[in-house]
Amino acid sequence: MSKINEISTPPPAHDFSKLEQILNRYPREEASLIMILQDIQDEYRYLPCDVLIETAKALNLPKSTVFSVGTFYKAFSLQPMGRHNIKVCMGTACHVRGAVMVLEAFQRELGLEHTGTTEDLEFTLETVNCVGACGMAPVVVIDEKYHGEVQPDRVKKMIKKGGK
């Protein structure tokens, strides 16, 4: 059965200005695809469908190829990601030292049931399994910055500061 409907549609961005710059950074060949998708993910914070179509055209690739690669890697997202990215470590060390409560605090403060992105596109909450900093468990990584020994009561402040 065709599973077309089960794959989420990335909403269009209606903005190709950033794509132009990205495409100019690389040779127009298939080997550039992943690097271009990475830059699209960075600039647009997801892979918008119209931008993907233009990318396919620019590299002279079938849309299905671009779609296939874009859905394969976890680094790419088909839905807009929040301006700030919060990763709560759920690895063994963090788990033992209360990661579940930390996660719950984030969910409560952000109004998210599980993980995902807030409606205002400010935050994306994710869980990861061990970021290699078990000594400072429980660990939360906000926009690449590591926060150690996070207590649930600090969460509100962390969000307010937008991760700074």
Binding site: M1, S2, P10, C49, A56, K63, F72
Partner: protein
């Protein structure tokens, strides 16, 4: 070049794959991701056989026959205990993935499995991710479908959301090549629907037979380097015309 297949010495052609030799010898093994029209990829692993050589001193290994080229002096077993046990495990897993796929049921039964010992996949379709449909579509020259996502979420899909102009021409090549009948499509007298796309059908003005979708006929005419006009009539109508001309000549 000679190999030993199930104890029998046979002559083989250099460069051919073990699977084609096995089939030529009339030995039946499951090979679900194999399709003669496209290059093998070794996705289903069901065509495994055990190979060894005298100098390996009793050591042997399993290889996918669809991807293994013949070698001088190779000793091949298609139904050794190791092969049968491994194949049975693979079929057991396939059955958990696609409990409704008749061809899996049939092969599983042959290897002694009536019911899978693994938890059955929820909302199971019949797709075993053999990749035949994708390879066929690429061979047709459309590149309309692709494997998307990964791991347990992987599915074959049309990037429908990526714009209106789809590469799919509704030719049904994928559906006909699918070993498990996983690709659903339907046709009434005027339209054909596949991959969630609906096409109108073109018919022969003489006989009224369905010729295909206009997109499909355009594509095949172009690919074959033939006039599109040739594709606006059915074979029967063409034959009829030729016959009439012939009658006139004599």
């Amino acid at each position: 070049m000679k190999i030993t297949l199930n104890g029998k010495q046979i002559e083989v052609n250099p460069g051919e794959y073990l699977l084609s030799v096995i089939r030529r010898e009339g030995i039946e093994i499951p090979a679900l991701c194999h399709h003669d029209a496209v290059e093998p990829v070794g996705a289903c692993r069901l065509c495994i056989v055990e190979i060894t050589r005298p100098e390996w001193e009793g050591w042997s290994r399993l290889v996918t026959s669809c991807l293994y080229p013949v070698e001088e002096g190779l000793i091949v077993e298609t139904h050794s205990k190791l092969v049968s046990d491994t194949r049975a495990t693979l079929l057991d897993m396939q059955l958990a993935r696609c409990p409704d796929a008749e061809i899996i049921q049939k092969w599983a039964k042959e290897y002694g499995i009536e019911k899978t010992s693994f938890p059955v996949r929820e909302d199971a379709d019949k797709c075993i991710l053999c990749d035949i449909c994708v390879r066929i579509c690429n061979a047709v020259g459309r590149y309309a479908i692709a494997r998307t996502s990964r791991g347990i979420e992987k599915v074959v899909a049309v990037p429908l959301e990526l714009g209106e102009d789809q590469a799919c021409i509704g030719c049904l090549s994928c559906a006909h090549a699918c070993p498990t009948g996983a690709i659903e499509w339907k046709e009434d007298s005027n339209t054909r629907t596949i991959w969630g796309l609906t096409f109108t059908l073109e018919k022969c003005p003489v006989t009224g037979e369905v010729l295909g979708t206009p997109q499909q006929l355009d594509h095949f005419a172009k690919k074959a380097g033939l006039s599109r006009d040739y594709f606006t009539k059915s074979d029967k109508a063409h034959k009829h015309e030729t016959a009439k001309k012939f009658v006139k000549i004599i």
